[in-house]
Assembly symmetry: C2
Homo-oligomer: 268 residues x 2
């Protein structure tokens, strides 16, 4: 266990269908007390991977009902249709007997995907990572809840220039493009992508809004990522009465779109 990467060690589940056990780690904390939603989702997907018999979490939706805290958790799974192409199941994460998160996912084998390809969007255009700045270096705004030790230690994020919020003056433009990878050299696979879309600083930081709670997150994994840095694009276009969406794209080092997500979140 000692040489496992934190992503693998901290998302591990034990047990067997229909009940798995996990230990929520404080290494993926946001703020002092709760676990990042993308990390919690990754734990739930580990349990689903065990029962669904296909490798790639193609379509995932997570409803975050209550905050998850470090410590023991139980994951109850339930399987739906298992067909030739897709297998669908559900995972509910509980702590102290209370349901906190509910995830439904359809798994597939993306190596078997075949059909037409037509892409009209394009990857973020970024200088090489070695020519970019570390997004998390120096002192982070305390109100952002990005305190150490926590999720900022689990990610490498590189940005062409520091965003306004890193310099105390949010730009008012809730969008960003940057490089990301898991810290410590673990390559992102399709099981890591649904969590990664919720791990970087939210786009609304650039609106001076540092507290936002995810209500629902849906992720579509579009391809298996090649090794290397991931080019990310995040944006929020509609903040309405405190509710806002956040769209996130991840492109691999060969310029292929590998994941797309949208979440609905509430400020405060």
């Amino acid at each position: 266990m000692t040489d496992q990467h934190p992503f693998d060690a901290d998302t591990a589940v034990t047990g067997s269908e229909p009940v798995f056990q996990a230990t929520i780690s404080d290494r993926w904390a946001v703020g002092e007390t709760h676990a990042n939603g993308g990390y919690v989702l990754s734990v739930c997907l580990r349990a689903l991977e065990r029962v669904l018999g296909k490798p790639d979490p193609l379509a995932v939706s997570a409803f975050f009902q209550r905050r998850v805290t470090p410590g023991p958790a139980e994951i109850r799974v339930d399987t739906g249709r298992s067909g030739r192409r897709l297998a669908t199941g559900e995972a509910r994460l509980l702590q102290d007997g209370q349901e906190l998160v509910r995830v439904v996912a359809s798994f597939a084998d993306l190596s078997q995907a075949s059909g037409p390809t037509l892409v009209s969007g394009s990857a973020p255009v970024l200088p090489p990572p070695q020519d970019c700045l570390d997004l998390f270096s120096g002192e982070l705004p305390r109100e952002s809840e990005l305190v150490a030790p926590g999720i900022t230690g689990r990610l490498d994020c590189r940005t062409p220039k520091l965003p306004g919020w890193r310099q105390g003056s949010p730009s008012g433009q809730a969008r960003a493009e940057f490089w990301m990878r898991l810290a410590g050299g673990r390559q992102a696979d399709t099981m890591a992508l649904p969590g990664l879309v919720d791990m970087a600083p939210p786009a609304v930081f650039e609106l001076g809004q540092y507290l936002s709670t995810t209500i629902e997150l849906s992720v579509h994994v579009r391809a298996r990522p090649a090794p290397g840095w991931l080019a990310c694009r995040v944006s929020t276009n509609y903040l309405i009465d405190g509710y806002h969406e956040e769209d996130f794209e991840i492109w691999d080092s060969t310029g292929r779109l590998v994941a797309q997500s949208r979440q609905l979140a509430l400020l405060g």
Copy 2:
């Protein structure tokens, strides 16, 4: 019952928690044999509305595991957290004892929403509906499965100019803007919006792709729509190995965004 609009009559459920009954109507058919996914979703939301105690389906995710056909259906509901702001629950639609669709939704009372608003997108710019063309007039491509009687009779869609697919020459650009409303004068409320995002012709028709099956659809209802026509924007940017997303926006007659959706679908 006779003066009920088809949307209300055909989405009605009877029974009580945790099991409701519905009759899937052939009035919302796509092709000869199966019901439109947005319509089926609307039936599931009716059951959830009955148990969740809040009026607006704020965040909805539906996994379409098998096609639904006209005839009796059972909807089994299960409630998660019910808090001050949000109530979350799940509905599974079954026919002949087999689960076909699984929906998770968080309901809220959008009239109670308060917080900052900042919108950087804008509504489709369209000529008035009376100056537009009926998208469904004349003969429709047989391969589109838009055969009468069926869903095209339930919707009014008005377009500034006929898209390529309506004229036998898809443009290759998988995007469109048009007006939409329920046929027969029923105004769209927040309960109608999650279904409407999946009822118009898919963006991939403009790629000459007339058969596409939704895997997962997530909808975020952003505001209660004002009466009148709805301005819609649909696009698909990434068709990869047969899988594609479709993004859909609905704006009300006062120019406010009222719903946003994304689905992952598979051609063929």
